[in-house]
Symmetry: C2
Subunit: 314 residues, 2 copies
């Protein structure tokens, strides 16, 4: 077993021949009606009904995508919205994805100081051994705002367990620049964060050359994405913003090395709820929502292969 | 019922005549042995044993401090470390504290974009109605790194529910300056964050004049604390770093207006585990850990009254 996170991720990308990452973003008001109704018939509190519906939806979603992509990214917030019942389903969904051979990146954007950061790391970073943490993720997204010393407890736990981290460097939202684009010492804040992340990555590199510490860089800012790929040569990227947030395959081409490695590109809503969107809504409709998930995933894989160096993986 | 968060907080501070805030930071390796042993005898998985021990410890801690202070601040990470069982106990601890008349600030430092931020807000911000969210906190700490647009969903939910927010502006850890002290447009990043927070606060002010949006400013940097008090006149402060992290009552004096309002000062370990520290360890010992909690809380209240404008509340 490859125990370094980046080595495990590279192996998974090579095996599936694509860097497509499927976000798991369950939303109660967009679930297929049959799943909701079954959960309602089973009864329970509002949170328990939502949790049961998420359990079925995410499990079936994983069954569809596990043969197609190397990794999934559950968004913790959508599970936490339904309280402890939701967090229990998040743990089950992560285990089910790992059992299906997927790399799991838990998108929880945690960040805190000292022993508190370590507690979060213990909670989410299982790494190579799925029994090592209650939410058994391979990797976790983290927020660098509190400073470099607050990333270190995450890095220590990750290195010990063969787990990975993705530090927010340049996010995909319209207001990302409020703080991240401010210029200090002639460079934007995202470049200062990038330098910190490159240092942590080069100090934690696996056989692949990539560090256990990666970075989140939004697809919605292609110029910054190209710039950040260049200044962080040891840093594996997680690129959100593809699909529903507006970026296309050409926008993410610069995230990759010529061999097609170095990044995973995430799509969440565009795949999870493809049955509600054209061109898939007309073809499949709600009763065939899993076929829509499959078609949207296959489409994304093809688009990335066509317009980026990821095509060399095919 | 006062429904605005800041009005409810001011009323609680006036009623208890102190701005002392007790952090709830349970750590398995520091709990009194009798509590741990009782949880172990009841059986269950490692996480269930820890959760049961936290349930008893935090409940008894709340019973001791609820007559003394206006508010408590549970740290989500220490509960999450023990998985879904831990998050269920966090929900119970928050309810128990509210039932005891305490204001509850959940320290979870969440931050994400758009509808994801809204999901976190829905999860934690109960505000004036404890049934409005699964973790029924009055207020939540949030991270501003992703930008102003990512704070807005939190502000909307908070305003609707009479809940509060504390945005990280200048944290208490040694490496806080890595990003927060970088100087852009002749001002450190923490001043840019402060301007954003002051705008959100003045736009959400209650009868007290304080906004629903407050700020976290560490006690360990007294000069920045004084500067930030001055430039954020509408912003109620949450001041961590007192006690175990090294700051004393004199260091936090500048956080207050002359009437003793405008801030709450947090101590966690120094109170939770006072029985393990001098001067309380010798006097009380482990079997009288609750007496040590009480003595440490009374001492902190007296120190704040002596060395800060909070003395005018007595």
């Amino acid at each position: 077993m490859q125990s370094h996170y980046a080595d495990r991720l590279d192996e998974a990308i090579r095996r599936k021949r694509t860097p497509a990452l499927v976000g798991i973003d369950p939303r109660l008001d967009q679930l297929p009606a049959e799943i909701l109704q079954r959960a309602e018939r089973a009864g329970g509190s509002r949170d328990e009904v939502a949790a049961a519906a998420f359990d079925e939806f995410c499990g079936r979603l994983i069954d569809v995508v596990s043969g197609l992509v190397p990794a999934v990214k559950p968004q913790a917030a959508f599970f936490e919205q339904y309280g402890p019942a939701g967090t229990a389903v998040l743990a089950r969904v992560i285990r089910r994805a790992r059992d299906a051979g997927l790399i799991v990146i838990c998108d929880a954007k945690r960040g805190d100081i000292g022993s508190t950061a370590e507690a979060y790391a213990q909670a989410y970073l299982a790494g190579a051994d799925p029994d090592a943490a209650p939410w058994a993720a391979d990797a976790l997204t983290v927020n660098p705002f509190l400073g470099q010393d607050t990333l270190e407890p995450f890095v220590e736990v990750a290195s010990r367990r063969g787990a990975g981290l993705y530090v927010l460097v340049r996010t995909s939202n319209p207001g990302a620049g409020t703080l991240q684009d401010l210029v200090a010492d002639e460079r934007p804040i995202y470049r200062h964060t990038a330098r910190m992340v490159e240092e942590l990555a080069s100090a934690s590199a696996g056989q692949s050359g990539w560090g256990a510490v990666g970075a989140v860089v939004g697809a919605t800012y292609p110029r910054e994405l190209a710039e950040l790929r260049e200044v962080m040569p040891s840093v594996s990227l997680l690129v959100p913003g593809y699909g529903s947030q507006g970026a296309g395959a050409a926008d993410v081409a610069a995230a990759f090395n010529p061999d097609g490695l170095g990044a995973v590109v995430n799509s969440s809503r565009g795949i999870n709820f493809a049955y509600r969107r054209e061109p898939f809504a007309e073809e499949f409709g709600e009763t065939r929502w899993e076929d829509a998930v499959q078609a949207a995933t296959v489409q994304m894989i093809a688009d990335l292969a066509e317009a980026t160096p990821a095509g060399t993986l095919r």
